[in-house]
């Protein structure tokens, strides 16, 4: 479980996140939703340690993370897998080398063990046999799946995904959602997904945290969100004609 307590973050004196209290639960897909500029990406970057927090605590299974200096965060960081919006794969490495990279850096596995692990995670994201391809040879959806495979390479306890569906067609986006959901269940991870894709919200939102103007505005799940009477959330979720029809 990841716990965010009384989080406050500002840039140049302008508050971006104020008094955020959230618990991301193990074995569930925890979604952070909100409009562009609401602070959800900042929240995720605070959670993974890319932004220092001004006030508050972020802890992983009771272990304080935000209060640790960068050097001492390494142990917890190695339990995290992060899927960046653009994939952030290393261009000069093949798919296999990308996935092997964290193992090269932090384990003493033999080459055979590493290759087995690469094949295992690639099979899990349905990309078996792409080991020798370079990122430039992959489609957007495949890039995201390789990035997921890399995030899984060290068998993480916590998986973060920043807008995993952005730039993908609806079919591929759904496949990524299903994959993240299935992997969360299979490996019993605490998965945190940043999204404003309503299909994701309605399909895999086991726990949804709505951030509005830097504050935690609403919490619930994909069933409760359909019945909410919160006006700001309704305006956000049912902004399109299609979602309004679904609500009716």
């Amino acid at each position: 479980m990841i716990e965010v307590k009384n989080l406050y973050k500002s840039f140049d004196g302008v508050p971006v996140l104020e008094d955020i209290n959230i618990q991301f639960e193990q074995g569930k897909t925890n979604l952070i939703i909100g409009q562009s500029g609401s602070g959800k990406t900042v929240l995720m970057k605070c959670c993974i340690g890319l932004f220092p927090v001004d006030q508050g605590i972020i802890s992983f299974n009771g272990r304080d993370f935000s209060g640790l200096p960068d050097k001492k965060r390494r142990h917890i960081r190695q339990e995290m897998g992060v899927l960046f919006q653009g994939g952030a794969l290393f261009d000069s490495f093949t798919v296999e080398e990308n996935i092997m990279f964290p193992m090269n850096m932090f384990t003493n596995m033999t080459l055979k063990e590493k290759k087995e692990r690469v094949n295992f995670v690639l099979e899990n994201v349905n990309l078996g046999g792409t080991n020798e391809k370079f990122p430039s040879e992959l489609s957007g959806g495949m890039l995201k799946r390789v990035a997921i495979a890399r995030a899984l390479s060290l068998n993480p306890k916590y998986l973060f995904a920043d807008e995993p569906n952005s730039g993908l067609d609806p079919k591929t986006a759904e496949r990524i959602d299903t994959l993240l959901y299935d992997l969360t269940k299979k490996f019993n991870m605490t998965t945190v997904i940043n999204t404003h894709d309503m299909n994701s919200v309605l399909e895999i939102g086991e726990k949804i945290s709505y951030i509005h103007k830097g504050k935690l505005w609403w919490e619930g799940n994909h069933k409760e969100i359909l019945q909410t009477d919160n006006p700001e959330l309704n305006e956000f979720v049912f902004a399109t004609a299609l979602t309004r029809r679904i609500k009716k």
Binding site: R73, R74, Q78, M80, V82, F84, Q85, A88, M105
Partner: protein
């Protein structure tokens, strides 16, 4: 004020880069790649420019030294001395600042804007150490080799042009390049080369690492890396010359 802040940032980044690598074999593999990209891939351009510069210098010296009281071997001597003291270490470093520096700045800058550096940090890797240290090490190993190569090719270019044009007889040129040799001049050239190698790679890495924005900013970082490296090369050339030759 901005200058001081940038110098501070640069120093902190280089200190981060000079930490002990996490895994020796990963560092060695990265170093091997950088030796190829920074060193081997620059041999062609260094060879062409050195041969032509040596040739041009020999012709220009012959053209300017037409007094019968000045012995012809002076042309070979002057060509060699200029190549060792200035042309090969300084001019070639400026060429390498353009080729290698821009490449490093744009490579690291692109990694920054595509979140690859963030990915390294999140994994618990020290990105400065992983990305910058092998590049600085590779340049400091390979640049002296390239400069030595440049000196030999420049001297060879002068000999070819002098002989082919008939301006400098081969015997006189060879006598000139063998006379009045001061071994310390080579040491001076190598010290300068090492300092310039450090400047080129570290400034370019800093510019790339601190990019904010998109492709336009990566382009700007690349240009700034080359311009600032060249200015620093000239400044340090003067400082080192004053320190080592006077």
């Amino acid at each position: 004020m901005k200058l001081f802040s940038e110098i501070g940032e640069y120093v902190l980044l280089i200190l981060q880069a000079f930490k002990r690598p996490d895994k020796g074999f990963v560092f060695r593999r990265q170093l091997w790649t950088d030796l190829k990209q920074i060193g081997s891939d620059s041999i062609g351009i260094i060879a062409i420019i050195s041969v032509f510069l040596g040739a041009i210098m020999a012709i220009q010296l012959a053209y300017n030294i037409d007094s019968p009281f000045i012995p012809r071997p002076i042309i070979g001597f002057a060509t060699r001395s200029m190549l060792i003291l200035e042309i090969s270490p300084t001019f070639m470093s400026m060429i390498l600042a353009g080729k290698v520096g821009s490449r490093i700045a744009s490579e690291i800058g692109t990694m920054r804007i595509t979140e690859q550096i963030d990915a390294l940090r999140v994994m618990g890797v020290n990105p400065a150490n992983y990305l910058i240290l092998p590049k600085i090490t590779a340049a400091m190993i390979y640049f002296p080799v390239l400069v030595t190569f440049s000196i030999f090719l420049g001297v060879f270019g002068g000999w070819v042009s002098g002989s082919v044009t008939g301006l400098v007889p081969s015997v006189d040129y060879i006598q000139g390049i063998r006379e009045w040799f001061v071994p310390f001049n080579l040491v001076y050239a190598m010290i300068k080369t090492l300092v310039f190698a450090f400047i080129i790679t570290s400034v370019a890495a800093y510019r790339g690492y601190t990019v904010k924005g998109g492709s336009v900013e990566v382009g700007q970082a690349s240009t700034n890396a080359v311009v600032q490296s060249n200015i620093l090369i000239i400044i340090f050339d003067l400082i080192l010359t004053q320190m080592l030759l006077t």
